[in-house]
């Protein structure tokens, strides 16, 4: 196996802050230092300044995929692997590939390149980070569908903040630098409000700081193992489980805690909601959470027993709806009297 490639992310908080520009500038510097640099994927958006920065960089042609009579142009990962550059530029890490592509997500293509020892420069907007999905929804009223798991981002050797003040970004938008006029007008009415941009910008700054900090802490943690937090997330068929999983994992990541997710299946409702539960378990696994399904008639007792066996310090529960769920929370709190129990917030846009 070749030595794994290094990975640098240019992090922004909205389209137009200059992520692609900053990435191409870095690529040009590296090329001039004599590195073999190719561009695997680049989204020009018809911004002249950015396109000019492509000069002298080798562009690996995209592959065309057809799906239901439509043509999609995707990054040709196989061609890049065959070409074996030292460094590859990949715009928009959160992109979802067209159906029928070898890998569903571009971040999986990037993983492939890194595995083969190719360094990667890439771009990402903060709203695509999985663990912030609910907060981003609350701030922007947009439920972002294309997300990147946090562990992918944590692997980066650097996460660089590409900053621009919201005011400057709004001017760019008004001058037509970011989008063509009709799209710009729509954007200004929705996503591109000063408050929304400010909120996302703050999230991005904190995330960039967090990645820097974890890197230093990991070094320190090897020397002195800190208090061992162990977190358990209780999974159900309820749609709120996704929010619960994201939050539990985010807290676990900040505390450097080990993270489990458990679904207690009652023998009586063997066939109920299996698809939803499976979806939630798969989602948790995708975030690198250790998942289990345990049979048990008494969900509260089974969950707490599992927690004791696994020396869990903190149990994460969804906010109860009506009736049964509230009782379950009450019972778990009573049974798990020697642990912390967290009932997770309902994050999202305010209604009414």
């Amino acid at each position: 196996m070749p030595k794994r490639g290094k990975f640098m992310i240019f992090l922004g908080y909205a389209a137009g802050v200059g992520k692609t520009y900053a990435m191409l500038e870095a690529a040009q510097r590296l090329r001039l230092q004599g590195n073999d640099v190719v561009v695997g994927y680049f989204e020009p958006h018809d911004r002249p300044g950015t396109t000019a920065l492509m000069e002298g960089l080798t562009l690996v042609p995209r592959v065309v995929r057809e799906y239901r009579g439509r043509r999609f142009e995707e990054m040709d990962t196989e061609a890049i692997l065959a070409r074996r550059p030292a460094l590859c530029v990949v715009d928009e890490l959160a992109h979802t590939n067209a159906p029928g592509s070898p890998r569903a997500k571009r971040w999986q293509d990037v993983e492939q390149l890194l595995d083969q020892g190719i360094d990667v420069l890439t771009t990402l907007n903060i709203q695509h980070l999985e663990s912030l999905n609910d907060q981003v929804w609350a701030i922007s009223h947009v439920r972002v569908r294309e997300t990147v798991p946090d562990w992918v981002v944590s692997q980066a050797s650097e996460v660089l903040m590409v900053d621009l003040t919201p005011r400057a970004l709004l001017h760019r938008l008004e001058r037509g630098v970011v989008y063509p006029p009709e799209k710009a007008a729509r954007a200004l009415e929705h996503f591109f409000r000063e408050s929304t941009l400010g909120g996302l910008r703050e999230l991005a700054l904190r995330q960039a700081a967090h990645v820097t900090e974890s890197r230093q802490e990991l070094v320190a943690a090897v020397k002195s193992p800190a208090a061992n937090d162990r977190i358990l997330i209780h999974i159900s068929a309820d749609p709120s489980a996704a929010m619960l999983i994201r939050r539990g994992k985010r807290v676990a990541d900040h505390l450097h805690a080990q993270c489990f997710a458990v679904y207690i299946s009652a023998p009586s409702d063997q066939f109920a909601s299996t698809a939803a539960v499976e979806k939630h378990l798969a989602f948790a696994r995708n975030l690198q959470i250790d998942t289990r399904t345990i049979a048990g008639d008494d969900a509260a007792a089974t969950l707490v027993e599992f927690a004791r066996q696994h020396r869990i310090t903190q149990i994460f529960l969804a906010r109860p709806g009506r009736g049964g769920a509230a009782k379950l929370v009450n019972r778990i709190v009573r049974l798990a009297h020697d642990m912390q129990v967290t009932i997770v917030a309902q994050r999202g846009p305010r209604t009414g």
Partner: protein, 331 residues
């Protein structure tokens, strides 16, 4: 009308602050705006020097081997924008203003917009942190309020590689970088709060984690505050400890409890004292008004009311705090 202030914040020399500032000046000038350069640093080179060559410079005054801005010349030239590189310089003794940042304030008062740059190392209130990381303090500093009161601040980020030859040096630069990013996040948070308030938008987005630890003499107060501190540190958030006063305690218990609260306040927590007949009625409005994202309560809240009330306090708290995580602690 007071001029607008925009600051480019970097975490070390060589990250490209001066370039970004001068480049913005050049682009504004190309768009027809009236821009002059009031102060440059002597070591300006490369791309920054190139940007500078496209700009009108008001020559600096020389006094021995120190230079200072020619404030009078700038004011009489009365440009739309004045670029000031290196906010933290001190002027030679006997100057009208001791510090360059005071000159900036004067320009702002005269209605001139200023675009300036500064390094984290030169922020007065961050000297302890900087010293912990680098072992050095700066003799010349600017007050942090300039950043907080600036109309805009922009972070200039770069990998901690240029110039970092050994791992220890790299580590130091990473640590400085983190402090700079968090400082910028705090400034953005303040600005956002002001914006939302001015526009009458009621929103709590939890961009900054705020942990509220609710203590009574019946909770394991010490452990809860410790955990709150740790969680707040890990999230780089704020810690608030609220004591809900319900009924008088024996003198020695009261003294013990007070000592714990005092230690919390010494450890950087804000300590609030709430008075109410009902715990939940006291905590909820306070938590909402402070934009709390996580509430820590003791198990006792549950057990004490569990049998007595039709709906337990915990249930009421969970229902009322729907936009916060509620964490129940062992007793």
């Amino acid at each position: 009308m007071r001029g607008r202030l925009k600051i480019f914040l970097g975490y070390g020399s060589g990250v490209g602050k001066s370039y970004r500032m001068l480049d913005e000046g050049r682009r504004r000038r190309e768009r027809g705006e009236d821009v002059v350069v009031g102060a440059v640093q002597p070591q300006t080179q490369g791309a920054a020097l190139d940007a500078l060559s496209h700009l009108e410079v008001i020559p600096m005054l020389r006094q021995g081997d120190v230079t200072r801005m020619d404030v009078d010349a700038i004011v009489s030239r009365n440009p739309g924008f004045c670029l000031v590189d290196g906010m933290a310089y001190d002027n030679p003794p006997g100057s009208r203003w001791a510090h360059r940042w005071e000159e900036i304030e004067y320009l702002l008062e005269r209605g001139i917009a200023v675009i300036a740059s500064v390094n984290l190392q030169f922020i007065e209130e961050r000297q302890d942190e900087v010293e912990r990381i680098t072992g050095r303090r700066s003799a010349q500093t600017i007050p942090a309020r300039l950043l907080l009161e600036a109309d805009e601040i922009e972070v200039v980020d770069a990998p901690p590689t240029p110039g970092a030859t050994n791992p220890a040096q790299r580590e130091r630069l990473s640590a400085l970088r983190e402090v700079a990013l968090l400082l910028a996040a705090d400034v953005v948070d303040r600005q956002l709060e002001t914006y939302l308030r001015v526009h009458g938008i009621e929103a709590r987005w939890g961009t900054q984690e705020r942990i509220l630890v609710c203590v009574t003499p019946y909770t394991d107060t010490e452990a809860m505050i410790q955990s709150g501190r740790r969680n707040a540190d890990r999230f780089r958030g704020e810690l608030i400890v609220a004591h809900v006063y319900q009924r008088p305690l024996p003198a020695d218990s009261q003294a013990q409890f007070e000592a714990i609260l005092r230690r919390a306040s010494e450890a950087g927590a804000e300590v609030a004292r709430l008075q109410a007949d009902d715990f939940v009625d006291a905590i909820l409005p306070f938590a909402h008004s402070r934009g709390v994202t996580q509430i820590f309560v003791g198990h006792s809240i549950h057990l004490r009311w569990w049998q007595r009330a039709r709906r337990s306090s915990l249930e009421r708290l969970i229902n009322g705090a729907s936009d916060m995580d509620v964490r129940v602690f062992p007793h």
